[in-house]
Amino acid sequence: MSVTNAVPTPTGSAPPSPPPASAPRRGTKKLQRLGRNPIGIVFSAPYLAFVMLVFAYPLAYSIWIAFHDFFFTAPGVQVERPFVGLENFITAFSDPAVIRSFGNIGIFLLINVPLTVVLSLLLATALNKVTRARTFLRVSYYVPYVTASVAVVAVWIFLFNGNGLVNQVLGPLAPDPSWLINSTWAMPTIAFFVTWKQLGFYILLYLAALQGVPKELYESASTDGAGAVRSFFSVTVPGVRPATVLVLLVSTVTGANLFTEPYLLTNGGGPNGASASPVFLMYQLGLQQGQPDVASAIGVVLVVLVLGIALLQNRFAGGRD
């Protein structure tokens, strides 16, 4: 606390830039360059250190690993890890399983992202207007989001099993082989699962955005003779556009991170790699088969692709605001 005491508090709400009229002590001037409340640096330092240690450094390290011949060694052992250029990338992408996993995640995103945007916006709009049973509805929509994937995966395996409840209800319409062991249906089933699991969070984001749409716009739309459907498309959809950009971004990034679901629902990306995700292959190649350099190369490509998709989404959905 001694630091704060050393700094004379500038009077009232005066801007921080003009120097005090009386001659300041020497140390004070130096501290003033750090801002009016240099103690803020001390308060934020642990967080900053954390971000550097757990995000910035590993991020740079990961890119370094991807371009070097890297392998696991006992701690403290010094070995040479030569620069190998694009060799890891070539190794990774000459593996058809890796190419397939990127195709799989593409299918996943094509189903999951649009479905998430449409369903969460529709449900949030309906939820926003309802007055009765609001708490009950809200709680039931958010519950899948707050529950562990591992726990709900167990129920889905039970539900979508060969003779599970879903197939019992569908009867002759049930796919054969069943959902999660069917190479056509495995990835879409995972995409539906993730949409269901995460939807509550996106409903929450849209509900927040809906509070920001001016009520007058709805009034004037209805004065102009717009029905509910028309005002949904002309007022609600443009009104929540910043939230839509966020939902697109977050669902794409989360989707590209897919690991738990193919690992558990389809028993490790089965059948025959039809639901393997890039992150699952990173785990398999990098940590199980001891090729962290190849796995890092996959990670770098994956992130570059995701960033590219995010930029495109921002370009086309973000407008100019």
Binding site: T9, S62, P75, S140, S149, V155, N161, L165, Q211, V279
Partner: protein, 277 residues
Amino acid sequence: MSKFQARLRAGVLALGALAFLFPFYYMVIGSLQASPDPTVSGAFPNPANLTIQNYIAINERISLLTGLVNSGIFTAGVLIGTLTFALLAGYSLAQLQWRGRGTVFALALLVQVVPFQLLMIPLYVLIARDYGLGDTHLGMILPFAINSTAVIIFRQYFLQLPKELFEAARIDGAGELALLWRIALPLVRPAFITVVLLTFIGPWNEFLWPFLITKDAALQPLAVSLANYITTVAASASNPFGATLAGAVVLAAPVVTLFILTQRYFISTDIGSGVKG
């Protein structure tokens, strides 16, 4: 708004609620069945087919208590780290003026979009290999120690407090920590509860990282040991579905209970504003 539209809306919402809640109901029912009954009638409780044997069975294969304790330590570590350091960072980002403030806030936003998949390998190399923290609680906690979303939520809340309040207290000679503890904190209690809930669900539900870092079953959080049960042991159990679902109920119950208790603080505007930055 016509009556038809109102009915349609109610119907859609009710159908949605059913789709969201049914799997949870089915989880509980399935965990209590003596023999798995996947037929439609199996979705209704049948007194002749009820048992708690599944809970005993899963507890014999994976110690539920050990799993819960490990999940608890993991979660508590993250909560302590977040509630201390995210609070300090959020406060200094909102109410204090210092050089580099904008950069730190930008970093907190940026961290949200850094995907974990890229960090997975280097973090594993650093924490498990270089620091030798594999199979420790500390190694489990470290990458999650301060939740960046919490930093942003705290900042958002502290921004709403009038600066004059703090200026006045500073003139009265209060130190910054005292200001934070006595003035700021009591005023942002809703944010505190939101952050507790939001931070709690992260480590409690996290699977990938603790799965990578713990090989020793005695240290695995429940999500990891249950997942291992699903992938390896379940095949040899007499009622694998019942036992798995019993484990799922034990894993889900603490979070769902906490959520229902605190749901009125979990309102859209708080978190929305937090996430929007």
